[in-house]
Every structure is written in C-alpha cells, then in structure tokens.
Symmetry: C2
Subunit: 298 residues, 2 copies
C-alpha cells in the first residue's frame, strides 16, 4: 500500500502518501490507518503498488504421513531461504473437508502442503527442485503438479473454499476462526500442541495456514444449541491466542482484534495498549469511528 | 523491523511487536515510531528479521553516453520486474569524484549504474543476462564484473564514500544532501530537469541515487564564506523537493524531515500534518522528545 485517502473523525479528507515507493516524510499515517479497523478514520481510497504477472507460475501439492513432518518441511524451507510464493498447510481434517466439498480427486486424507512457485522458467524449476529435496527428507509424497492455469485455479479455489468446506463437515454448526502467527522456529511445536488441545476439547477444528509466514487458522465448529459448547470453543480459541503470544508471536496475524480479542490484545501488548488508546482519543475524541473495536478504551 | 522497545515521554518502557513475521494486533506502533526521528519516544531495542547470505552474489558496472539513457535503463528494468538486489546511479560529476577519491581504475567519467544480483548461481546469471539486454538497448557499455568478494567490496566502498568524494571536489566547501523519491515512471524526467536546474544554479552538485526505488540525492556544494551562496544552495534543494512532490513523490525517501524540511512536509502532506501534530501532542504532551523536529507544532 503506497497511500490512502482517509475521512477523519472531524470530517476532513486527508491523503497519507503519494506514489513513491518509499517515503520518510513525517509519521507513517498509512501504516497507522491500515489495520486500525476503521477506528481512526474511514479509508475511501487505496493506492497500491502493482506487480507484474510472473513469467512462469507452477503449483504443486505434497502430502505427508504426519502433521509434524509437513510443518518441519516448511521450517527448513524458510530457514534455507527458498523464495516460495505461497505455502499453504492443510491438516488431515481440513484436507478431508476440501476433498469432499471441492471434489478434489487423487489426494489422500493426510496433512498436505500446497506450494506455488513464481519467477522465470529456470527459477521456478530451481525452486521446485530445492523444495522437493526438503520434502523428500521429511517423507513427503511425489509432487502433484498443476502447471496449467485451469489446474492451478481448481487447487486454489479448493483452498479458498476451505472455510465453507469446514462448515460442511458439520451441517448446522457455527464456526469461528482463530489466527495465530508465531516465529517460524516455533511453528511445529505450536501446531502440534494446538492439535493436542483440539483433541482434548472434543470439538472438530480443522487447521489450515499460510505457514510460510508462521500463520495458521483453526475453524472451530460448535453447536450453538448445546449448552456450554460455545464456551468450550471460546476456551480453545483463547488457548491458541495465549500460546502464540507466549511463543513470541501474536494472537492475530491478519484478521485483526475486533471486539473478540480485546482482552488478548492487552495480554500481547501490555502497556503499549495505553499508547494505542492515546492515539484513538487524539484522532477520534468523540469515539464515533467504529466504537468498541480494536482498542479497549477503559 | 519486527518490533521495538521504546521509552515513552512519560517514562514507560513499551514493546511494539513480537517475533512473528506479521501481526494485525492493534495499531501498528512499530511503523509509527520508525521514522518519527525520536519525536514520539526513544527507541532502545530493535528486533530485526534476518535474511541469509545469498548463495551467489555478483556486482557489475555499466556506463552510458547520457544520463537519460542510464535512467531509462532503470525504468525499463523495474517495469520488466527483474529482481535486481541493488541499482545505484552515479552521474558524470559523481563518477568523476569517486574515480579520484577512491582511485577507481578503468572507468570513464560518464553516467554509471552499479548493479548487484543475488540468488542461486542460475538466477544470478539469468538476471544479469536480462539486464544486459536492456542496457544494450540504451547504448550501455559492456558490463565490468566484480564477482570476487574483494572486488565487490572495493566497488561498494567507493559508492559508500560518495559523499566524501563529492566534498573532496571542492575542498573547504560545505555540502548538504537532498533526498527526492518519485514514481519510477517519472524518474527520467525528474532527474533531467534537476540536472538542468543544477546547471542554471552555477553550483556543483553531483547526483547519485538508489534509482531502483526512484530515490536520488544531490550533494549540493557551496561556499559558506560567499554571501548568498547558501541561499542559492537552499533554493536548489527546495526546487528538488517541490518537483518530487509535484510528480506524486516525496521530499524525502529516507533521510527524514528534521527541521530543514518542516515547510515542505506541509506542502507534501497538507492537512494530514494536523493528524501528525495530534499524535505528537497525545504521546508527548510536554514536547520533550526531540522538540522542534519532524512535525511543525504551530
């Protein structure tokens, strides 16, 4: 994001940036408004930096015997510095849901990584070969390739429908998503402990994630008509947030705080929340911008 | 930058982020303190994300008949999306200064690009070949390669000494740097108009820049003992800032505002400066943090 047009609480229309790739002119208002969830002003225009379509794109799927092996593959790949454009993890439960919902054929109900490689044809081949060397070390299956645009679209469509696929596992139930993000080095421990928590909870909660960033989600499914089941789901979600924070990570990699995570925000940021509160009061003194969200005012 | 430890104006010690690669937990205090030039708090610790040393690194120098051809090479390279790790421009005056000061041999006094390519050995070859095809189109010389670490160090040392090399052009004179950054598409026009302004001013002002970002600097040399010469230098610097702003860019790509550019900050950001002022007053009500800098309070 290069810059924004924002309507402020006192009705002014301001621009936070120009079209230059970088700037150090004054405070970085662009980053302040991004992720403020509308609590500091209303974003009405966004100037984005565009990237060209890569010369070559290839997607591949690799399946594993264990979740731990799948995650350790990602850790080694990141630490080796292979420039993978996307790495998505789906655990066995999520893969099962996607196979059924999106009618994916030829895949096992097993922990799975979806990869996408971008670059010149030569660079894509090289990245893929480096990645295959790592997956082989962790007992990963042969890559199933999707080099044609329509095959890639089918795969990523299935990935994007993962939330609906998860809901379809238990028709009539409600689902909500968690959003932990941890340092890559802690990712395997974090996901394995989370998987054990899910088992203990007795709930169904598929795991999927943008694991190249150390970011993963559960979709926690629960039956709103059964007394206490929402509370169990909430407890599971809170344990995921607190574990991520304890590991030096965050309770939200990309979804934001909303009102649901106001408590864990304080756990994560401590006294820094006082500064956020000061900024909120300075820019929106009458609390008219998305009140009650993102930063607890009391 | 993943996170900071900051001492606030009221004496608290806060942490703005953890070790996760991304977070959307509350307002982005990390980006707010970065570039605030100490006016909102004192940064005492920085958590950085580290990158591995690339498998292969190669540096190359290419010289041009005209400044415009050198800059247009960069524009096409950026628009083509070649992932060059560094592209540095030195105009004829700066190149002359560097050749003399750093005793660079085998180079002409001519507009010059320094390139650095990072990646696997194959990727570096590929990037370099793609870049050579573009430089050839604009009449660039054959690449002079520096693949050995010591040759690269010699080149980049000369580049890093550019400011001192510029000062050495006119012993006893004072120099100050400008810092325009414009959209890549306007870079050639911006630099050529600036070069004409320098000629009109009668001052010596070599041009060098991180042109892959659209960012370039002049080192404007002037004689403080000659009446009116500082004013001429200031006028030239202001014209560079205002031209960058008029082209959708910024008066400072990386140096910051300090007290010298408080006026042009207002030209660039307009009413957004009121928001910066509100933030400054909220976080430092007694104006004890680097007072007078970055944001004009009146």
């Amino acid at each position: 994001v290069l810059g924004l047009t924002v309507v402020t609480a006192d009705g002014r229309i301001i621009k936070t940036g120009g079209r230059a790739r970088k700037s150090s002119a004054g405070y970085d208002l662009t980053r302040l408004f991004i992720g403020a969830e509308g609590t500091l002003g209303i974003i009405t225009e966004i100037a984005l930096r565009l990237y060209g379509v890569p010369e070559a794109i290839a997607a591949a799927v690799c399946q594993f015997d264990s979740l731990e092996n799948a995650v350790n593959t990602v850790i080694v790949a990141m630490q080796t510095g292979i420039p993978v454009a996307r790495i998505e993890l789906l655990d066995d439960v999520q893969m099962d849901a996607c196979i059924r919902y999106s009618k994916l054929e030829g895949f096992a109900v097993a922990p799975t990584l979806f990869f996408e490689f971008h670059g010149s044809a030569g660079a894509v081949d090289e990245q893929a070969a480096a990645m295959q060397a790592i997956t082989a070390e962790f007992g990963g299956s042969a890559f199933q390739w999707a080099t044609q645009a329509e095959d890639r679209t089918r795969l990523w469509k299935a990935r994007h429908a993962a939330y609906y696929a998860a809901l379809a596992l238990k028709p009539g139930m409600t689902g909500f998503a968690t959003d932990a993000c941890v340092p890559i080095s802690r990712l395997a421990q974090c996901i394995m402990e989370t998987k054990a928590d899910i088992a203990k909870s007795g709930l169904t909660a598929p795991i999927l994630g943008h694991v190249g960033d150390g970011n993963f989600h559960l979709v926690i499914l629960f039956d709103n008509t059964i007394s206490g089941e929402r509370a169990r789901a909430e407890a599971l979600a809170t344990s995921v947030s607190l574990r991520a924070i304890a590991m030096g990570g965050t309770c939200t990699g990309e979804h934001g705080i909303g009102w649901h995570k106001l408590d864990v925000l304080v756990q994560e940021h401590g006294e820094a929340v006082d500064l956020m509160r000061s900024i909120k009061r300075a820019l929106d003194p009458h609390n008219i911008m998305n009140p009650g969200k993102t930063v607890p005012l009391d």
